[in-house]
């Protein structure tokens, strides 16, 4: 009887604990999203800059679409949709990581640790916020481009996959940013990673197809996962639905997440040990 009561109590407390972790994670995610929405100065550049580059590119390079090696497209803008998503989400994830570092700098992170908050929810909440913002950015860019005449050949399903991919990229790159924030506790250090991400984008096929590149540059672009991720999303826009395109768009960010999220968890554990 006593054993049964004890086991029931244990089950009850475990389920209560799990429920609390979920509630806390949802609350932390909500806080993370609100923190982004309430700071338009952070959000606007991540939306405006990719669109500015897309507009510049479509005016500067539209004649290049006739060259050999370029995929058949109605307009250069169709090629830039996926690049805009990638660029915007990278900007956004840096901001998410920087916000976590600001929490550490201002002492809010310590106050969270002093409260009976689940440790994991602090990180998962932040990553979920980045994922939601990434998906919202992807939808924003897709709708703006559709308004300017881009036809997403994979239809509504394609738009949904692009939005999910945006969310997954936000989460996986957000993992690197969170790891950096937790390890250094400095927003400046997190912002300092942005040039690296930008470089990785330039050394990929995000702006021009790999087929038009030469030499070492082409080899780097061939190896760069960003190229394949971009091409997955791009093919959904310009060629239509295909298993290969969906797999590239969704599985590459998942694979990146398998590296970045454990790194973030390790950084969290390290910081908790240091407190």
């Amino acid at each position: 009887m006593t054993a049964a009561v004890l086991s029931d109590t244990r089950d009850f407390s475990r389920s209560t604990e799990t429920r609390h972790v979920w509630q806390q994670t949802i609350a932390m995610s909500r806080r993370s999203v609100l923190a982004i929405v309430r700071q338009p100065a952070l959000v606007i550049p991540s939306l405006v800059f990719p669109l500015f580059f897309a507009a510049l590119g479509s005016s500067s390079f539209s004649k290049a679409t006739q060259l050999p090696g370029f995929p058949k497209v109605d307009s250069f803008l169709a090629l830039t949709l996926a690049a805009s998503v990638l660029q915007g989400v990278l900007f956004g994830s840096v901001n998410g990581g920087a916000a976590l570092a600001v929490d550490i700098e201002t002492g809010f992170f310590d106050r969270l640790l002093a409260s009976p908050t689940s440790r994991i929810s602090i990180l998962v909440g932040r990553l979920a916020g980045s994922a939601m913002f990434g998906a919202a950015q992807a939808l924003f860019f897709t709708f703006v481009m559709i308004a300017f005449g881009v036809n997403v050949r994979a239809g509504v399903g394609g738009v949904i996959v692009i939005a999910i991919a945006g969310g997954l990229i936000g989460m996986s790159i957000g993992g690197f940013m969170a790891a950096m924030a937790l390890r250094t506790g400095s927003a400046e250090a997190v912002q300092g990673i942005f040039p690296l991400l930008f470089v990785s984008m330039f050394f990929s096929s995000a702006f021009f197809p790999r087929e038009t590149m030469q030499g070492v540059y082409r080899s780097i672009a061939n190896w760069n996962p960003m190229s394949h991720l971009y091409e997955g999303m791009r093919d959904l826009v310009i060629s239509g639905w295909s298993v290969g395109a969906v797999a590239k768009a969704l599985l590459i960010p998942v694979a990146i997440g398998f590296i970045s999220i454990p790194l973030a968890l390790m950084a969290l554990r390290r910081r908790l040990r240091a407190v």
Binding site: L56, S60, F61, A64, F70, P195, F203, F208, M213, Y217
Partner: protein, 277 residues
């Protein structure tokens, strides 16, 4: 009275130059003491030259593109971007001086007001010389081909100095108005927009749509044309064709530089006057 004014005029000019020289040396010392503030002005144009010429290599295959080497097109752009950021970086330094109170001490000193603008401008010129030399060197290593000879290099240096002057005036003017780091974002954004809304990425005959209209009236287009002219060559049957420096490609750039520099330095001086009030 007139005689006394006349007699003080050369002294004022001398003290202006002396004070500006002092401020210039301080700006140059900052390169050694705070390299993190200057290095981006060198690294960014190098990265830009490499990244743009690699990514957009195929653009040179578009009929009518003025050169067959992408580095020839993008290296001068990198040089001018670096020069612009060397100039605008002095706006950041001024913001730091305003925030720490050092600039108030400068204003209280008997240094002429113009020297507070001329000093940073001389620093920008010196920094630009370093940027142009380094970026051009990297460009040559990456295969840039100069066909305009000494004149081709000279017009590139001149254009870079002009852009640095414009950027210095813009940066100082905004720093005097905002007095804190809020001005830094506008400094960079303004420069970035004005540079990219020109023939930065493609020549006018390759562009289409709205950008063609904007770039045609953007004076930066003329400065870029002047800067690039010594590099706009093609190799036909093993012979280099084009890429000579002409007055027709130079004077619109010179005019744009003089007008924009005057306007921006006037803007900076107005900001300083307002700060004094």
């Amino acid at each position: 009275m007139t005689a006394s004014i006349l007699s003080t005029a050369p002294a004022t000019r001398t003290s202006n130059v002396r004070a500006a020289k002092g401020l210039m040396l301080r700006g140059l010392h900052a390169i050694v003491r705070l390299p993190s503030a200057f290095f981006p002005a060198i690294l960014m144009p190098i990265f830009q030259s490499i990244a743009f010429s690699g990514t957009f290599f195929a653009i040179t295959k578009v009929p009518g593109f003025p050169t067959d080497r992408s580095i020839n097109w993008f290296m001068p752009l990198g040089v001018l971007m670096g020069s612009a950021f060397s100039g605008v970086g002095l706006g950041f330094s001024l913001i730091r001086d305003l925030e720490t109170g050092f600039f108030d001490r400068l204003r209280m000193s008997p240094s002429p007001r113009n020297s507070l603008i001329l000093g940073p401008m001389f620093t920008a010129w010196f920094r630009t010389l370093i940027v142009v030399t380094v970026v051009m060197g990297v460009g040559f290593m990456l295969g840039a081909k100069l066909s305009g000879g000494v004149l081709g290099v000279l017009v590139l240096f001149l254009a870079a100095m002009g852009i640095a002057t414009i950027a210095t005036g813009w940066g100082l003017g905004l720093a005097y108005i905002f007095k804190d780091m809020r001005g830094a974002a506008i400094m960079q954004l303004g420069l970035f927009m004005s540079m990219f809304l020109s023939t930065a990425q493609a020549p006018l005959n390759v562009m289409t749509g709205w950008l063609h209209t904007v770039a045609s009236i953007n004076p930066i287009t003329n400065i870029l044309r002047m800067a690039r002219q010594g590099f706009l060559n093609r190799t036909v049957n093993g012979v280099t064709v084009g890429g000579t420096v002409t007055w027709a490609n130079t004077w619109p750039g010179l005019l744009a530089m003089i007008v924009l520099s005057s306007l921006m330095l006037f803007f900076a001086r107005r900001g300083l006057n307002r700060l004094d009030k």
